[in-house]
């Protein structure tokens, strides 16, 4: 089963929930935790584990071979992303704009734009007893997160069997990186905070999950601040609220130090138990 932990708004507690839930579950069973927030991966700051494997990740981009080029201009014409531009007698390639569609390369009549690998980030595979942790990290200056997110999921598919529970710490927002991180999930947990910002962005995240036809539930973090807007919304829309993690300065302090909280704050463990119970019911009932 694949569980994606997502949110519309950033900073609501996706990483806190991902690392604590994974570590707690890994006390009894094998778990794969993957940080798919490749722009700003933070889960690794909370996980003590030894490195199993590390690899560079590449995307394919065209490279101009001047001596083979007839300057026919087809490459520029077929690139929808303005990543290949003809300037006088030169073809300029902008790798950061390239989506790797191969159109310029394969439609070039003289093979003057072969595709070559360009490094976009790093993948690390770490292990601590039953917890496997996969982190992907986009190089600063690379603009597109989606290809790296996709390759991270491919790595997990190749290295772990389907019966192991996978937890995906997803990027914030509702656009392409989130879609890529959640589209293969069997269930999505949307983490929010009970404030007007939290509610507004939760609504967008809910619409996104409906569009993707994903089953989902909500975890309210920092329960006790703000107002009851989020809870009323979930009740109105029949959205299951899986847990309410209390607003507690101690949690913020532990988090700030890079520590896990479920062993320090009993209420957090209780709330995690509720989430786990819900996930077990889902699994037994077959994933909808």
């Amino acid at each position: 089963m694949k569980i994606a932990i997502a949110s519309g708004k950033g900073g609501t507690g996706k990483t806190t929930l991902s690392v604590n839930l994974s570590a707690y579950l890994a006390e009894d069973e094998e778990i794969v935790l993957s940080d798919l927030d490749v722009e700003e991966p933070n889960s690794g700051l909370f996980i003590n584990a030894r490195m199993v494997h590390e690899e560079e990740k590449y995307k394919m981009v065209p490279e101009w071979k001047e001596d083979q080029c007839t300057l026919c201009g087809i490459c520029q014409e077929v690139c929808n992303f303005h990543a290949v531009i003809q300037l006088g007698e030169m073809i300029m390639v902008f790798p950061e704009l390239c989506h790797g569609c191969y159109a310029c390369s394969e439609l070039c009549p003289t093979d003057a734009l072969p595709m070559i690998p360009k490094k976009m980030g790093m993948l690390k595979h770490l292990q601590n007893d039953k917890l496997s942790f996969i982190e992907s990290r986009l190089d600063v200056g690379e603009e597109q997160a989606v290809p790296l997110i996709k390759q991270s999921q491919d790595y997990i598919d190749e290295h772990f069997t389907d019966d192991i529970l996978r937890i995906y710490d997803s990027p914030p927002g509702t656009s392409c990186p989130v879609i890529e991180a959640t589209k293969d999930a069997d269930f999505v947990i949307l983490v929010t905070e009970p404030t007007p910002f939290g509610l507004h962005d939760l609504k967008i995240a809910v619409e996104t999950m409906k569009e993707l036809k994903k089953p989902f539930g909500v975890v309210v973090n920092r329960h006790g601040i703000g107002n009851d807007g989020v809870l009323r919304y979930c009740e109105d829309k029949d959205i299951p609220v899986l847990a309410k993690i209390p607003n507690d300065r101690k949690i913020a302090e532990l988090y700030s130090e890079g520590k896990l909280i479920y062993n320090e704050v009993p209420e957090v463990k209780q709330e995690l138990d509720k989430i786990i119970a819900y996930l077990r019911t889902l699994k037994q009932g077959g994933v909808q």
Partner: protein
């Protein structure tokens, strides 16, 4: 006219609350641009009237017309995004996977594939309660946030600022380091980094600052919730000194921010405890630095 871009790397550090407070202080001198189009929240504090709205089109989506399609499968062969599959015997495009590269349409032997122009959202020019104007947007669900809508919002804000002789544009950026952030940084006069003293806050600050450096931009930093972890606050301060980043202010952890937000207000309108003065001083400091 100066353009101040507020970003954070990590989400939830208080970026929008602080940006809205600066907008409130700047009043009629400031055009506001909410470039966090993916999860835009600034309107909840500044109460725009959504007076003028326009659809925004960017990118394409392949559509196969079944009447012209011979099911030859060439489109699926060239698609690098696994966006074309056979459903009920028909080649079909998955709109969520299609990147809009148009390769399939170019090689289809029977011209059965059309590239549809994509409506990715809507952008607005609104009057706001500060007595000025705000440019903001709403990205469509699951739409491609390639940075083009961000660029549109910024360019409109710039145009308005020039036309009405405003001194400042304040831009609320998005979290991360990808396309929308790159797009919101282009053309900035000064970058305000809002961080928090947590291991994540510092980690993300360093990454996003690496990006700011690539653009050769001057930056200042606000450490929000600074008393949550004094040790990490000191580490952040050391990083700021090392990188020659202006240390604007340390703000204490204070639920006044949440209370103000819950009432749809900036901290400037509601605070009684001295937070207001710290933000007023920060705004003066930023103005002094960039002028």
């Amino acid at each position: 006219m100066k353009e101040i871009v507020v970003i954070s790397g990590k989400g939830g550090t208080g970026k929008t609350s602080i940006t809205a407070s600066f907008a409130f202080l700047g009043g009629a001198d400031v055009i506001v641009a909410d470039c966090d189009v993916d999860a835009a929240d600034m309107h909840l504090l500044l109460q725009p009237d959504f007076a003028r709205g326009e659809d925004f089109y960017s990118g394409e989506l392949a559509k196969i017309h079944p009447d012209n399609c011979t099911q030859c499968g060439k489109c699926a062969e060239v698609c690098r995004f696994e966006a074309i599959s056979v459903i009920d015997g028909m080649h079909t495009v998955d709109p969520l996977s299609c990147e809009g590269c148009g390769y399939c349409a170019r090689i289809c032997p029977t011209n059965a594939i059309e590239n549809l122009s994509m409506n990715v959202g809507k952008w607005y020019i609104s009057s706001i309660k500060t007595g000025s104007l705000m440019v903001h947007a709403r990205l469509g669900i699951g739409a491609d946030n390639s940075g083009k809508l961000v660029a549109k919002v910024k360019n409109e804000a710039k145009r308005l600022a020039e036309e009405t002789n405003k001194d400042y544009i304040i831009v609320d950026g998005s979290p991360g380091i990808g396309c929308p952030v790159v797009s919101s940084l282009s053309g900035a006069s000064f970058v305000v980094l809002v961080t928090e003293p947590s291991v994540s806050g510092l980690h993300d600050l360093k990454r996003v600052y690496e990006l700011v450096k690539k653009f050769n931009l001057k930056a200042g930093c606000i450490i929000n919730k600074s008393d949550i972890n004094e040790k990490v606050t000191q580490e952040i301060e050391a990083f700021l000194r090392e990188e020659n980043i202006l240390h604007i202010v340390n703000l204490p952890y204070d639920e006044q921010f949440t209370k103000a937000m819950t009432n749809g207000q900036t901290i400037i309108e509601s605070d009684t405890n001295g937070l207001k003065q710290m933000i007023v001083d920060s705004w003066s400091k930023i103005k002094l630095t960039i002028n």
